[in-house]
Structure formats: C-alpha cells, structure tokens
C-alpha cells in the first residue's frame, strides 16, 4: 500500500525542521516583522550544532549551542528591522546569503574540509519512539504557541503590536520589546530546526544543507496564515510530499522528479488557498500577509 504508517512516520520526520522554523516565522509575522531569514538562521543552527557536538561529544550541548547561536544571529534582523527600520526583505535575503558564506568559511577554517563534514565519531540525537526528542518538542511548541497567541496576555499583546503598533504603544505595550522577543524566539526555533536537520534527520554538516527548507517554512507561514495549527498542517503537507517523493523514487521515478515534488506541491497549495481566500474577500486586493505588499521602496531609491 502506498499510504501506510511508514509513509506517515517518514512524513512526520521530514516535517520537524520545517515546523520549528515555520513556528518561529509565524510568531514574527504576528508581531509584524516579516522574517525571510529563516533559511539562514537554520543553516547557522546546523553548523553550530555539528561543531559543538563534535568538540564536546554531546549532541545536547550541540542543540543548546545551535539555539543560542541562531538567536544571536537573529539579532541582526531585530536590530536592523526593528531599531533601524531597515527593509526586512533585504535584510532577510542578506542573512540567508551571509549564513551560506559564513558556514562554508567556518567549515573550511574549523574542520579543514570542503563540501561535507561527515565523521563517524560525530554524535547525533538518539531516537525516542522513532523520533528525535526535538520532534516531540516541535509538536509541543505548536500547542504552546497556539495557547499563548490565543489566550495568554503576552500573545495578545504580541498580536496587538503586529496589528496596530501605535495603539499598542498607547496602551503601554512596547512594540520594540515584543518585536525583539518575537525575532529572538524565531532565532531559537530556527536553531532547533537546524540542530534537528544536522543531528536528527542525518548526522553531518554539508554546505547549504537547508536547501530551501527555510523558504518552504516561509511559505508554510503564509499557507497557515501565521496560525500555529495552520502552520502545522502546511508543514505536514510538505512532509508528506517529501516522504511520498522518496517512496516514488523507490518505485523507479527519477530522483529529479521527486526532488521537485515538495516545491510543486507547496506552490499548488499556495495557489488554492490564496485563490480561495481572495474569492471570499474580494474587496481587499492583498492577502493578509505583509509579504504580499511589495518590498518597500526604501531599498530602491
């Protein structure tokens, strides 16, 4: 049978990094900061996790270091987009580029190898019930994020900051503080996503190993309308596409077709949801996501 429990299991494994990163992106989105630097933050997490795990022998220290390093990295976005009011799109693209260059540079200066660092003594995360502990953490994070955003005063204030920063400021809620918090949380979650990718799904680091997953996470935020449960569904869709791709490859389909599958499926889902959303609200020309407004003209003067 094509759709069986094995397929679901591998889909759930494939979705974990996307889900963690996309949750971070969703929280940023809710706070009014468009974060397309998820890919770069994940990649920094991948490298830090592998380097720390290799030098300390503890994958758990690797996970911790990845979260901290990505959070520190995300500060660039926080300072740039929130304090200096720079164009978040340009900053995000620059963060992605910087991460590719920086991790490749560090791979060569720290490990003296090019392309891939793959050592048998590198310790990966052990599995609990078929999943890495970070997978359980990701699912728990969906629930926590959903409850926080809908029930807790912090979540409500965060949404207030994202929707009407001036009104929030009038009520004594500091938009800057909440936006910094949201960006840092996204950094931590992307760090965990990177750790999962480099120490959970596989146990190695290779140049640009995120390979567009951060972008898929950005799309998952749009698909899921920045709702934690919506993001979960979107990430599940991607996981299923990836798992089904592997399955089809086993059935003789060329690898290139299955490589492309997740992107095609994601794009298709994006068509359907945005088209449907548009029909429902014909008066507004743009979708709810701030990304649909073109990057501000500030970059182009």
């Amino acid at each position: 049978m094509f759709f069986d429990s094995d397929l679901l299991m591998s889909a759930l494994r494939a979705l974990t990094p996307i889900l963690l990163a996309a949750l971070g992106g969703a929280i940023c989105e809710r706070a009014g900061v468009f974060n397309i630097g998820l890919e770069g933050m994940m990649l920094m997490g991948c490298f830090t996790a592998v380097a720390t795990s290799w030098f300390t022998g503890s994958p758990w220290l690797g996970v911790l270091a990845a979260a901290l390093a990505s959070a520190a990295y995300s500060l660039i976005l926080a300072v740039g987009a929130v304090t200096l009011r720079a164009d978040a799109v340009v900053l995000g693209i620059a963060l992605n580029l910087l991460a590719v260059g920086l991790t490749s540079f560090l791979l060569r200066t720290v490990f003296g190898v090019q392309g891939t660092f793959d050592d048998p003594s590198l310790a990966g995360l052990s599995l609990v019930g078929g999943f890495s502990p970070l997978a359980y953490l990701a699912w728990a994070a969906v629930g926590v994020a959903a409850l926080m955003l809908s029930r807790h005063v912090w979540g409500l204030r965060l949404r207030g900051v994202g929707e009407a920063p001036d009104a929030a400021a009038t009520l004594g809620v500091s938009p800057v503080r909440y936006q910094y918090g949201a960006v840092l949380v996204s950094g931590v979650l992307c760090g965990l996503a990177g750790a999962q990718l480099a120490l959970g799904n596989v146990t190695l680091f290779s140049e640009n190993m995120t390979a567009g997953r951060g972008w898929i996470a950005v799309v998952a935020v749009m698909l899921g309308r920045a709702l934690p449960l919506g993001v979960l569904l979107a990430a599940l869709l991607f996981g299923l596409a990836e798992a089904a791709g592997f399955r089809l490859q086993g059935l003789g389909l060329p690898q290139q077709a299955t490589d492309a599958a997740p992107y095609v499926v994601t794009l298709g889902a994006l068509f359907l949801t945005t088209a449907r959303r548009r029909r429902r609200t014909p008066s507004t020309s743009s979708t709810s996501s701030p990304s649909s407004t073109s990057p501000s003209a500030g970059a182009v003067t």
């Binding site: 340009v90 900053l91 260059g101 799309v219 060329p254 290139q256 073109s294 970059a299 182009v300």
Partner: protein, 354 residues
C-alpha cells in the same frame, strides 16, 4: 538621483562618501580584515592578492568572464527591482535558458552562425516565459512574486537536470551532460581568452537598460512604481501588466546568461555548472547594492566579479578560504539595508583639520 542644483566637485565627493553605499563597502572591507586577522592572515597581503589576482594580466580574462554572468544576472534582477519587485528565480530561469540554448544548438538544421543566434533567442524566450509564469502566479493567484519565483526555480532546475541526465545525456559519458555543440556553434572569443562576445551582449543590455531608465516613459513608469507604487497606480500605471513585462525582461536576461554559458566553454549543458558559482545571488547582491540604478549595477557587478575571482588568488597565496568573499558580499548588504552612513560630524571635523 541627479540633483537640479549645481554642486562643486568636492561636495560631490563628500556626498558620495557620505552615502550608505560607501559606508557599507568600507564596513565590509574592515570586517573582512578582522576575519583575516582572526584566521592569522595579513589583511594587506590578502586584499593585495584579491586585486592583483583579479585585475592582473593573468586574472583579468577570468574577471571579465565572471563579469559576463554576474552583470547579466544583476541586470535581470535590477530591472524588476527598480519597480520594487524581487525576482528570486534567477537560477531556474538561467538553467532553462541554458537548456533551451543547448537543445537548439544540438538540433537546429540551420548553418552554425544562424544557430548561435537562434540558440540565444531560444534561451531568452525560455527564461522570459518561465519568469512570466511567476508573474502570472502573483497577478492571477495572489502568490507573492518573491515566493512564486523562488519556488518555481527548484522544479526548473530539477527538470533541466533530468534532461541532462537521461534523455539528452551524452552517450558513454560518466558526467551528467549533453553532447558537445556542433563545430562553429559557439560564441566567438576574443583572441585566445575565455572572454566571448557574450560580454558585449551583456554590456549592450546594460546600455539598453540605462537608456530605458533615463530616456523613456516606460523607464519613468518603472522608477515611479518603485518609489511610490500607489502614486504610480493613481497616475495610470497598470501594475499587473508592468509586473508581467518586467518579469519577462528579467527572465529573458537570466535566460541569456544561461545561453551564453552553454555557447561558451565547455560548449554543452553540464548539470550544475551554471548554478554552482551562485551568480544569481551575487547578481542580486550587486543589484541591491546599486539600488538597481543602471550605472551602479555595472559598477557593483564589476566589484563583485573582482571579489569572486580575486578570492581564488587570495586562497592560493594566504590559504584563507575564498568563501570569505561571499561573507563580505553579505555583510555589505546587511549594512546597506540598515542604511548606516558616516555621520556629518565626521566630515566637519575633517574639514576643520584641513
């Protein structure tokens, strides 16, 4: 932007130095020097190696070859960026353009010179069509261009990779590549160098972009849309049509770069060879650095081509990995996005000292 009032040359230089671009480039160079010191290299020697390796007699040919691709893709991204649109699908458009040129070059029954022209046109058409698809995704379905262009890039690369590995694969070769193009189906090179007529084509494209931007109503519409899209819409610029046209031009340029790549050494489509150097991202960085202005885009592309080629000779002489140049590019853009600049007092104080 050109100023209406006449200003003295000194003020001109001061203003240029005070621009965020100058600050960003300098900050990139300084941070790069810190990296070099961190790895135990001498920054002066390393930067010297970058310059001598890229602009010296041995390196200039390589720099101009790199410039062909970087400038071509920088223009491809600058054209929509001028209107505030970001095309992230350069890789896919370039690869499809290269594949279309390879297929045309291999199977066209026409004489060689005509085949070359046809292959270039096929490459441009393939890139333009694919980029237009991304524009349609935004216009018809409301999928943001940034996302649709990027997501479309992956299946395009996979498709071209599939063609090069299976139906069009060179029989008997272990590499994922098509057969070599027939004799004469190649862009003429200058002397014995690797620099081809492709460079001229890209320079002509840059000149055409400058002319359109400065001298035509269409260029004015594009710039106004970039500065204030709502005002431009009010003034009668039709946004969807503009997006479609700009993306088609953008994709055509990216496809042209792919076609030039195939019609130059190694005269075939080799899977991964067009995208391996990351020209799309370098081009995007150059376009962002120049804020998509035509002359600035050419200068920024040259700057990054020098960095990229010079990085190799820096690696040879100082053993600092060439990836450092990629780090530099990104740092420049981070600073530029933050629009940091030298404060006014810095200049006042210098004036007093003089």
């Amino acid at each position: 932007m050109k100023q209406a009032t006449r200003i003295s040359p000194v003020a001109h230089v001061t203003r240029a130095l005070r621009s965020p671009v100058a600050f960003s480039v300098l900050a990139g160079v300084v941070i790069g020097a810190l990296f070099l010191i961190g790895t135990g290299a001498d920054p002066v020697a390393a930067y010297g190696a970058v310059l001598s390796g890229s602009l010296g007699a041995d390196g200039i040919g390589s720099t101009l070859t790199t410039l062909t691709s970087v400038l071509g893709l920088a223009l491809a991204l600058a054209v929509p960026l001028r209107a505030g649109l970001i095309n992230l699908g350069g890789d896919g458009q370039m690869v499809l353009g290269g594949m279309a040129a390879a297929v045309t070059g291999l199977y066209s029954p026409l004489p060689a010179p005509l085949t070359v022209v046809l292959a270039l046109l096929a490459g441009m058409a393939a890139g333009a069509g694919y980029a237009a698809l991304a524009a349609l995704c935004e216009n018809r379905f409301g999928v943001p261009l940034l996302v649709s262009s990027l997501l479309l890039s992956y299946p395009a690369a996979s498709f071209a990779s599939y063609l090069a590995r299976y139906p069009l694969k060179e029989p008997g070769s272990s590499l994922p590549q098509t057969r070599q193009l027939p004799d004469g189906v190649a862009l003429p090179a200058f002397g014995s160098s690797t620099v081809t007529v492709g460079l001229l084509l890209v320079v002509v494209a840059a000149a055409a972009y400058w002319f359109t931007d400065r001298r035509t109503a269409f260029g004015y519409e594009i710039r106004m849309t970039g500065l204030n899209s709502r005002f431009a819409a009010y003034a009668g610029v039709e946004r969807k049509g503009l997006t479609l046209r700009l993306m088609a031009v953008s994709g055509a340029l990216a496809g042209l770069v792919g076609a030039i790549g195939v019609l130059s050494f190694p005269y075939r489509f080799l899977d991964g060879s067009l995208t391996a150097s990351g020209y799309t991202w370098t081009g995007l960085t150059a376009a962002l650095l120049a804020a998509a202005a035509p002359v600035g885009t050419v200068l920024a592309s040259f700057f990054f081509a020098v960095l990229q080629v010079g990085g190799l000779s820096m690696e040879r002489t100082t053993e600092v990995p060439r990836e450092l140049t990629q780090v530099l590019q990104a740092i420049v853009i981070v600073f530029l996005a933050a629009r940091l600049r030298f404060p006014q007092w810095w200049f006042n104080r210098r004036k007093e000292a003089v």
